[in-house]
């Protein structure tokens, strides 16, 4: 197992390097002169070429591409992504304001989804074509069909109309005031968790159904094992690989941000930050956020692979 972990960890380095190179190149290939954009296009009428050259020099855009990449990469290694062109503050500072919120939302929504999806998906599979199965399927299809923002707005309106109460408008970290944090985060977590649980429930149900038809499950029944042992120990564990992949991918997406949910619940998360940065042509922020999203996908994939190995010992011996 330790050799497997070491191999996977080593693979992260070239993967991240590739991601960094790609992010950097994409930002250079897209049309538009960043220095000119900072001056607001041609808004100020004539722009002094000296000022433009000075701005390019300040941003390092007058250097050869490989020097620019090296400088940026060296900064990334030290968590220095430069300064936001819009606020003038270090990108990492801006990111750290928003990351706790997005992480909390992603973790809590994932937890809610796993807690709901795995038991219900499993029960629906075991009790296939009974009223329980139908109920789980209807609710999960509802989660997929109804847009999250609509559920979110509905949540807020119902609370306001019936209780005269609305969630706080500003994020308070759980370590500052857990109660206020709960009041704010519970609704987006429920909204996002519902949709996410719907996807995972359906995946769990179908994979458990598939595994329940395997020969070794029939053998387990034939050996006279109890239902709980057959389903949980033998069927569930073996049906988890695709479910784990799904949970991992969705979790990484959640860290990358949920623009619409964040907008509805006035959450200042990574998703809105990225959209705002694109709108304000704040390219150091865009570059950093895309890299961070790539980074979170790489880490989540690593965790998923390690979990695979735990669930299926054959993987770690390959």
């Amino acid at each position: 197992m330790s050799t497997y972990i070491a191999k996977r960890l080593l693979l992260i380095v070239p993967t991240l390097f590739g991601a960094a190179a790609l992010v950097f190149l994409i930002m250079r290939v897209i049309p538009g002169d960043v220095a000119l954009l900072i001056f607001g296009g041609d808004a100020g009428g004539h722009i002094d070429p000296k000022q433009l050259a000075a701005m390019r020099a300040r941003l390092g855009l007058d250097q050869p591409l490989w020097v620019q990449f090296g400088t940026w990469l060296w900064g990334v290694v030290r968590f220095d992504f430069g300064n936001s062109l819009w606020t003038g503050r270090p990108v990492i500072e801006e990111l750290l304001i928003r990351l706790p919120l997005s992480l909390e939302l992603a973790l809590a929504a994932t937890a809610v989804s796993v807690i709901i999806a795995i038991p219900f998906g499993m029960i629906a599979a075991v009790r296939q074509d009974t009223w329980i199965d139908y109920a789980v399927r209807v609710i999960s299809i509802g989660g997929l069909a109804i847009p999250s923002f609509w559920v979110g707005i509905l949540c807020i309106l119902l609370l306001v109309i019936f209780f005269g109460w609305g969630p706080p408008l500003e994020f308070t970290p759980p370590w500052v005031d857990p109660w206020v944090n709960l009041q704010m985060m519970i609704w987006p977590v429920v909204t996002v968790g519902y949709r996410y649980a719907a996807v995972t429930t359906r995946m769990t149900r179908s994979t458990v159904l598939e595994v329940l038809r395997e020969d070794y499950i029939r053998t387990a029944w034939a050996k006279g094992l109890q239902e709980r042992a057959v389903v949980i120990r033998h069927a569930l564990k073996n049906s988890m690989l695709p479910v784990i992949t799904l949970i991992g991918t969705e979790f990484a997406f959640l860290i990358g941000g949920l623009v619409v949910t964040e907008t509805v619940f006035t959450l200042n998360g990574v998703g809105r930050f990225l959209v705002d940065a694109v709108a304000h042509r704040d390219y150091p922020v865009v570059q950093a956020l895309i890299f961070m999203t790539a980074f979170s996908f790489v880490i989540v994939n690593l965790l998923v692979d390690l979990t695979y190995a735990w669930f299926d010992p054959r993987i770690r011996y390959r």
Partner: protein, 535 residues
């Protein structure tokens, strides 16, 4: 000119008083005994493109930073459009109306502790009137009459004019023209895009982009015993329903811009006397800028067809409850002395009341221009729902009736400004004209050649000439005639398509005292007299 101002002041004050008194107890609020303390919580619908009001023209910038700055003059918070001093305590106008001398109040300090003197006022207006390369000044053309700004002594500022200006005082009272300390401008004229050093009743406390903006009481404010509030805090949310819910639940006490009537009614129904609604007309309208530099919009027949295809009278009925867009009018606010009389307005393309006739005329013009089956266009817009997107949706379905298919593209605020104002990268774009007062100089400069707000990028010497003449005409009646002539030239050529004039619903909890809503969401945002009767 003083007479003109008095006349207009009286008209608008009376109109406002009637509306406000009918709708809210706000008019009597000033009689209560002010209470100190508390933080005013407000919601706002957009994030600012930058924090420099000299370079921006969105409420998203001004409402956040106005309480942090002083201006030379200001609109009276209780009596729009009366002009009173802010940093200036008094002023004199020479008999030939070519020299304006202002006395600066002694003892005004910027938030960094340095004194505000005439040198700072001069530096501010020099930046506004003649911005350095690479610095945008949205309102520089409003000062075409000014030859120089002088600071002969620390307490005196002199504006010298090459010709009389009918609107100089109104421009100097513009809430956008905040006074910056010279030493920061000298270092970097773009410094205030991301930083704040003002001398207003509140000091900058914190800004988290996309989330909140906060100010705290300036204990050194030059007006004694002001402000009453300990601070103010804006929560940024682009969703109208979320902002309405925030006011409804008491998480925010006020929305300064506008909430649609449907939301206002729901809030009133639920909260009853706990909230007040101030309904005012608006010195602004929502229309559509047409890019005159690209085909086929450089063809007057196509432009006329587009404006003929827009049924403004039905729009008014449909859009009012959703968006507060209400009045059909030309380029100046209906009901003012500057507006075109109805009879004359209805003769202009798109303003006739027989819409079937208008559509037939539009189709004929399109056929003549080579588009008998219509064509496709792209309508860019700002991604602010109220009222931008609702208005665009209405226009698009109207144009479909004359064979024009419009693809609607909402953009983030900064991208919308960049494409519309800065680079002209559009065919049609929703472009409102909202100003801090009704003065024609403010509203009409955008139709002159080369103005930074001339999003349609047209040039017509007749418009330039009429603008210049009205701007230096001090006789009100004479000026009004020129203003109306100018409007006719713009509308006959369909250089710009006015949509509807806006109205304003300011909803606030009754514990917010001493805020009297003017007919726009730019003026009276300093909050120096506002107080909270409870937290």
């Amino acid at each position: 000119m003083a007479g003109v101002l008095r006349h207009r002041t009286l008209f608008t004050v009376v109109a406002l008083a009637v509306v406000v008194a009918a709708a809210t107890p706000a008019a009597v609020q000033a009689a209560d005994t002010p209470r100190r303390g508390g933080v005013l919580l407000a919601v706002i619908g957009a994030d600012p493109p930058s924090l420099d009001p000299h370079q921006e023209s969105t409420f998203a910038t001004l409402q956040l930073v106005a309480p942090l700055y002083s201006t030379l003059l200001q609109t009276d918070p209780y009596a729009y459009p009366k002009i009173i001093g802010d940093a200036a305590s008094e002023w004199k106008i020479s008999p030939d109306a070519l020299t304006y001398t202002f006395k600066i109040r002694p003892g005004i300090k910027f938030h960094d502790g340095s004194p505000l003197t005439s040198v700072d006022v001069k530096a501010t207006y020099d930046k506004l009137i003649s911005p350095p390369d690479g610095v945008r000044s949205v309102r520089k053309n409003a000062y075409a009459a000014v030859t120089s700004v002088e600071a002969p002594e620390p307490g005196t500022v002199v504006f010298k004019l090459k010709f009389p200006s009918a609107s100089l005082l109104e421009n100097l009272a513009s809430p956008w023209n905040v006074i910056y300390p010279k030493k920061y401008l000298d270092k970097d004229p773009n410094y205030f895009k991301a930083n704040v050093v003002g001398s207003g009743p509140f000091k900058f406390k914190n800004y988290t982009r996309g989330s909140t903006f906060e100010g705290e009481r300036n204990t050194d404010y030059f007006v004694k015993d002001r402000p009453y509030l300990n601070g103010y805090k804006f929560f940024i949310s682009p969703e109208t329903s979320v902002r309405a819910a925030a006011v409804r639940s008491g998480r925010a006490y006020i929305e300064f811009r506008d909430l649609p009537s449907a939301e206002v009614d729901a809030i009133k129904k639920q909260l009853g006397d706990k909230v007040a609604v101030q309904q005012t007309p608006m010195t602004g309208q929502f229309g559509i800028a047409i890019n005159n530099t690209v085909k086929p919009f450089n063809d007057v027949r196509v432009r006329k067809a587009l404006t003929l295809g827009l049924d403004r009278y039905t729009a008014s009925k449909v859009l009012f409850t959703l968006t507060s867009l209400r009045d059909v009018g030309g380029l100046l606010r209906p009901g003012t002395d500057w507006a075109l009389p109805d009879a004359e307005l209805q003769k202009l393309p798109g303003f006739g009341k027989d819409q079937e006739k208008n559509r037939a005329e539009a189709k004929k013009l399109l056929a003549e221009a080579g588009y008998p089956n219509g064509f496709k266009l792209v309508l860019k817009n700002r991604n602010v729902k109220l009222p931008y997107q609702d208005f665009a949706v209405f226009a698009i379905q109207e144009w479909r009736k004359i064979g024009i298919e419009a693809d609607h593209r909402p953009l983030e605020t900064a991208a919308w400004f960049a494409d519309g104002r800065d680079t002209g990268s559009f065919e049609l774009i929703i472009g409102p004209t909202v100003e801090a007062s009704d003065d024609p100089d403010l509203f009409l400069r955008r139709y002159t050649t080369g103005d930074s707000e001339n999003w349609g990028r047209y040039s017509n010497p007749a418009i330039d000439d009429l603008f210049s003449r009205q701007s230096r005409t001090l006789d009100h009646k004479e000026r009004s005639k020129l203003v109306q002539q100018l409007q006719k030239v713009v509308l006959e050529n369909a250089y710009y398509m006015p949509g509807l004039w806006w109205s304003r619903n300011v909803v606030h909890w009754t514990k917010v005292k001493n805020y009297v809503a003017p007919p726009n969401h730019y003026a009276n945002q300093k909050l120096q007299d506002v107080w909270l009767s409870e937290d």
